[in-house]
Symmetry: C2
Subunit: 308 residues, 2 copies
Amino acid sequence: MALDRLIKNILEKKNPTVAGLDPKLDYIPDYIKEQAFQEHGCTLEGAAQALLTFNKGLIDALCDIVPAVKPQCAYYEMYGWQGMRALKDTITYAREKGMFVITDGKRNDIGSTMEAYAAAHLGEIQVAGERFAPFGGDALTVNGYLGTDGIAPLLKVCKEKDTGIFVLAKTSNPSSSELQNQEVQGGEPVYLVMGKMCEEWGKELPGKYGYSGVGAVVGATWPEQLAELRKELPHTFFLVPGYGAQGGGAKDVAGAFDEKGLGAVVNSSRALMCAYKKEGCRPEDYAMAARREAIRMRDDIAAAIASV
Amino acid sequence: MALDRLIKNILEKKNPTVAGLDPKLDYIPDYIKEQAFQEHGCTLEGAAQALLTFNKGLIDALCDIVPAVKPQCAYYEMYGWQGMRALKDTITYAREKGMFVITDGKRNDIGSTMEAYAAAHLGEIQVAGERFAPFGGDALTVNGYLGTDGIAPLLKVCKEKDTGIFVLAKTSNPSSSELQNQEVQGGEPVYLVMGKMCEEWGKELPGKYGYSGVGAVVGATWPEQLAELRKELPHTFFLVPGYGAQGGGAKDVAGAFDEKGLGAVVNSSRALMCAYKKEGCRPEDYAMAARREAIRMRDDIAAAIASV
């Protein structure tokens, strides 16, 4: 149930990290782009093909050591419906390789509209009796600004399809404080109000490791709030962006974990995708460079958790 | 600049309304679906084709009297990338017919990720020097929970491409109060904090009618807050959902308008799309039934504005 499949993957691989698949064209080695443009022209199809080839290489190189991937919808949507097809194909490929897929869409709406997003990303739809999983991820990031009306439709689908959600609580960016740190009457900041709603919503999706199917997004750039929220939200699993390129280190994320070393999955995107550039190795070795960086990150975070 | 093209359309058509294009399969007449399934099978392609045909009929029937359409992304995304292709084709068709297109995606993210959404929906992207407008709308609804880091990338694109945004402030649903009505220190509710940020962000996109390129979403179901926000946010144009099916009436939305009768555009989706069902007319007349309902709505709202 819930996020249990993710947690099982994390335990098996002894690795609480997720590989962000945010494939900007700039990150993709030229030889992949040239091949894609030769086949499809310098078009949206060509770009989408380059994204998919790049992703498949990363997935092949990471799937036995990294438990999950997190494709960021925006980087697919920016190549139109052709890019969205690459998103679907990426998700399918990663799941075939046993990875848990967190679709990072930050979707939000209400009622039957939110049901449509839930079906699109976590469930199935019917067309004249035929069933389809339009994108088919295992979890979806969502924005809870609209309240329970925007979350309840997801819970229903999550229960039926054994999928989960991550609700934005305290995001990694500097200006997240403008709204999220405003204190409401009683003195609680908005991010904690949102976190407590996650605990409440999560009651409908209990999990066997103690964490519900309603996780929260909390940035690695806010170590104090991470530790505060870990204490306040004992059943809420965290998705932690902001490690690496955005400035969060392993020590910063340690507070996101409980005494058993569970409770969070830490994302890295650019550092993995661009490891070959940083290493200065051959572009053809980009996937193995990502694997080396993934191992370094795994060990870095494991050491920080152990030392707490 | 900004939302001026929308306001110009509203003035020319003397009609401050927008037609929501949320084409659930249930809303679409059988003869359209049967034709689409015959050509493409009972598949996502078939569903997407039915959506597009239905939308084109509505756009043809409405384009000379209604200034804008608002396709809701979720109802396209739920049919996968095939549905997203129908979204793109719907937007292109509506713009060819002179309608202003508000893409209702409630997208949100930060930095270069938000730049990707901005390019996808309001701007252009480059593939090896070739330029493409992936979806090509005139405005996008967005969620401001992440603060300025999530909005600034949009402002840049809006300035370059003469497009605009609508930020969620007070949404139409009952549980919007859970977070949005929480009062922060100083006593202001979260929706007003968000509204004031819209005024601030809007300074970068001034418009010639006094309204900036940063609008706000405020539900017709909250007439008091609509009137309060109209007073507090003199440069922020409102997108008002919740009229009709969700319970808001013409009197309820009157407070969203200024003394010149400007300041808001009121959305109706289901009441237009399903007018043929309510009328009991032939399904083949669905578009003309939508036109009759659009005229009724226009006159209903005009009367309410005039009587204030």
